[in-house]
Symmetry: C2
Subunit: 503 residues, 2 copies
């Protein structure tokens, strides 16, 4: 009986995943290929697929089957694949069935109007016009949290959508220590005696050659072009279409080497995770990524801990010099390495470096917390933003467009999403430290152009696990310790102190 229930449940989830992966292709194509007059029909296709997926996933029968499975021996060993699947499907099923349809539609509507108002508000530096939409979105998200329920604070219910199991409290434990040390460290670097000459990576880098170099690097770190593509798009992303098909995108700036290159490595990191998930479990939680934070840990590790490391460039710098001879022929290795590791307090998150990026996130996390516990009023957002920003970065935004209006997330209702970016860095550092311990000659391998030992380690320890563990437990299982800011702080200090000549 329980076996039959599992079979039927998987059959339904297989349908759901076929619809979902088809919607993924519709979305990828929309951003990469679609001729512009196709957009109205594409919206209809996507809406239809979303509706179909929701209908299949939230069917009463799914609830019945979950109940049958929960009451059966399937759920006895909580780490066995079927038990994991039942646990995770239950979690998502309850969420999706608890929220009234009317509220789902109100949020969808507010997202659409909110985003178009936000585009103008950011352009015109006009917080006032955005404010009513922001307030409304917060109210709707509060209702959403109430509908789903939570143990501690409403914000927890939102975080759970992106980082299952994490809470405001569990994140605060890590973030608050991290913030103190990071603010100090950023201040030290601001006043450091040494500065890189970034102009050497802002020369002419032909797009054709950047493409060749980027594809070479992607292939070197293990991105399989037999199972993926690299295309151009305005806002780079990674999209898994299904087993054996995961696609990444980038954008080329002919006056900057790093943008496309590190962006490509970042998206390749996401893709390696997607492609490393256990294919025999495709369509069920055991075949899916743990959380946005764990996903981000994979992209950040390849982008920063590998791609911006000295050993990596020991191998690739000669190739880069030959490929971009006019730009890099006269550049010294140490100067190049320093230039791609430029750290500077800046206003815009998406342009931030490996160090200050985290501060951008910590600030947003604190504000989101404040908004949902009522200690920050939406109307005070610009003032609170600028005050915190000045305190953490030592510089003050000159406009709201450079401040609280810079990101699309709140306009799109994505409260609880930001913390996953910094969690990604924290997870990455803790995983990477363990990988280095397990593979003592990792630096030598990187310097020899070999990246498969790290990839194998990630596959074995992280990718192959699917959703067996929530992020919090996965970190403990893999590294033997719970999440801590020390590995990341240690990594940053070890790397940047000598570069900047600070203590």
């Amino acid at each position: 009986m329980s076996k039959q229930a599992m079979t039927e449940l998987k059959q339904i989830m297989n349908e759901v995943s076929l619809i979902g992966s088809t919607a993924a292709l519709l979305g990828w194509d929309e951003r990469v290929n679609m001729p512009r007059n196709g957009s109205a029909h594409r919206a209809n296709q996507l809406a239809y697929m979303a509706g179909l997926l929701h209908e299949k996933f939230t069917a009463n029968r799914v609830g019945e089957l979950l109940k049958m499975a929960e009451d059966s021996p399937v759920s006895k060993d909580p780490l066995a694949p079927d038990a994991v699947n039942v646990r995770e499907l239950r979690r998502v099923y309850d969420k999706r069935t608890k929220v009234p349809n009317q509220l789902v539609q109100a949020i969808a509507h507010a997202e659409t109007t909110g985003q178009s108002v936000w585009v103008k508000a950011r352009r015109d530096n006009d917080f006032k016009s955005f404010f009513p939409h922001l307030e409304k979105m917060i109210e709707l998200k509060r209702q959403y949290a109430e509908a789903i329920g939570y143990k501690d604070v409403a914000y927890d219910a939102l975080i759970d959508d992106y980082e299952p199991g994490a809470t405001a409290k569990s994140i605060t434990v890590v973030f608050s220590e991290f913030r103190k040390e990071l603010v100090d460290f950023v201040a030290k670097i601001r006043n450091a005696p040494k500065k890189p000459d970034v102009s050497i990576v802002e020369r002419e880098f032909s797009i054709d050659r950047q493409r060749i170099f980027g594809e070479t690097v992607a292939a070197a770190i293990g991105f399989p072009f037999s199972e993926g593509r690299l295309d151009i798009t305005a806002h780079p992303f990674c999209s898994g279409i299904g087993p054996g098909d995961c696609r990444i995108t980038t954008r080329y700036n002919p006056k900057h080497l790093g943008q496309a290159l590190f962006g490509t490595m970042h998206e390749a990191g996401h893709a390696l995770y997607e492609l490393g998930l256990p294919r025999e479990h495709f369509g069920t939680p055991m075949g899916e990524a743990v959380s946005l934070g764990i996903h981000e840990s994979q992209s950040r590790m390849w982008e920063n801990m590998v791609g911006r490391s000295k050993p990596f460039w020991k191998f690739f710098f000669p190739l880069a010099q030959q490929t971009f001879y006019d730009a890099l022929g006269d550049v010294k290795f140490e100067d190049f390495y320093f230039a791609i590791n430029d750290v500077q307090a800046s206003f815009i998150r998406v342009e931030a470096d490996e160090v200050t990026y985290n501060l951008h996130i910590l600030l947003r996390f604190e504000i989101e917390q404040g908004i949902f516990d009522g200690s920050i009023k939406p109307k005070d957002l610009p003032a609170v933003w600028n005050e915190k920003f000045t305190k953490y970065f030592g510089i003050t935004p000159k406009s709201d467009s450079q401040g609280c209006l810079q990101d699309i997330h709140w306009a799109a209702g994505l409260f609880g999403y930001f913390p996953t970016y910094a969690l990604g860095n924290l997870y990455a550092a803790q995983f990477f430290a363990k990988a280095k311990k397990d593979i003592p000659d990792l630096d030598e391998q990187f310097a020899a152009g070999k990246y498969s030992a790290l990839l194998d380690w990630l596959r074995k320890n992280i990718h192959s696990q699917g959703q067996r563990y929530h992020a919090e437990d996965l970190v403990k299982v893999v590294t033997g310790k719970k999440l801590d800011h020390k590995p990341l702080m240690g990594y940053l200090e070890k790397k940047f102190k000598p570069l900047y000549g600070v203590k």
Copy 2:
């Protein structure tokens, strides 16, 4: 009541068309973009979408709604959009519900195995190994025809899948006269005193420049890049993804100017038809193409009657000379025009010219007729093929790979499909003659680089009609006469007699 029925029917058909157009994107992507390891999952996605579409379309409720609409005033004026929709949906609904599921699956299975056997059989010139699959496919298709029913001969039921309303008899009326005259004409050209120097279009034509030139030509004849794309693929095709999104593909041969160029114009002709269908009727028969033959008339007209015409090249030859200066700089206009209109009896249909192509089709049509009326035994196919071929073309295939094994169609169960290719040429000529009458200065317009008058004429007379008429009636409505071989024969004679110096 009937209004409600129509609304519900259209709602269901809207769903069907969203699923169908999504499947179209899955198919386009498979052939243009998909990384190779994505094929297994893509097959699952396509199969799921096909099943979903079939389930929605053949639901009992659709039959009930059709009955309600048929018994209502909706069907009073037979040419009103709703009446047309009911008529055509009924036709397809009956077909799809009459064929037992078991037979559908048997055919699908035979198609898959048949095609893979055929690939090897053609490569190895081994009719024997293909024969049992051919015989089985014919038997299954005969059962299919019996399940659907027909008035006259079983073959009619197959033709109707591709050319609704056409029958073996109605096609024979046109084809048999045409054949007599065409065989004579091909013989005359074979013995003609003048021959073109085709080597001038077989020089080096860089793919980059071919692409630019091809896109320029496509845009000039009205293919809107805001509503479409031109990509590269192994077997060129046109795929409508939905209103405002129709994509074409081509393949470049660096040693041949014509292949990609005329292929692009051919596919653009298909796309202009798709994009010209009335968008307000999208998802219903009134928003769909009449038949494969009418579709082919659009592609052939742009490819041959426009693209291989003297007025067209009066405008484009100087541009071609500049674009491909090394190859065409020393070529005279008249020699170029003759070279792109080379006529030669050849064994392979897909490589045939504008004149002999039709003979390839007439031969296949006669064989298909014979197979289904029992006068040709499948085992005799090679002998029958070679005998007919020699009679019509004056040359004899040296192998079955060059003969009856050359096309994939029969392996894929596509009996009744071939005649639509020649019908396309016949329709095209009859339409084009009428268009020239309606627009007396068409040649002058072409020579001035203007193609919108022809496109407007096609839109008004053909594209905007959707499926209001079956092909037979559409030809009558547009040209005032029923389909006849004379316009095509006249067009061919007028064009090729002076070129080849024959009378």
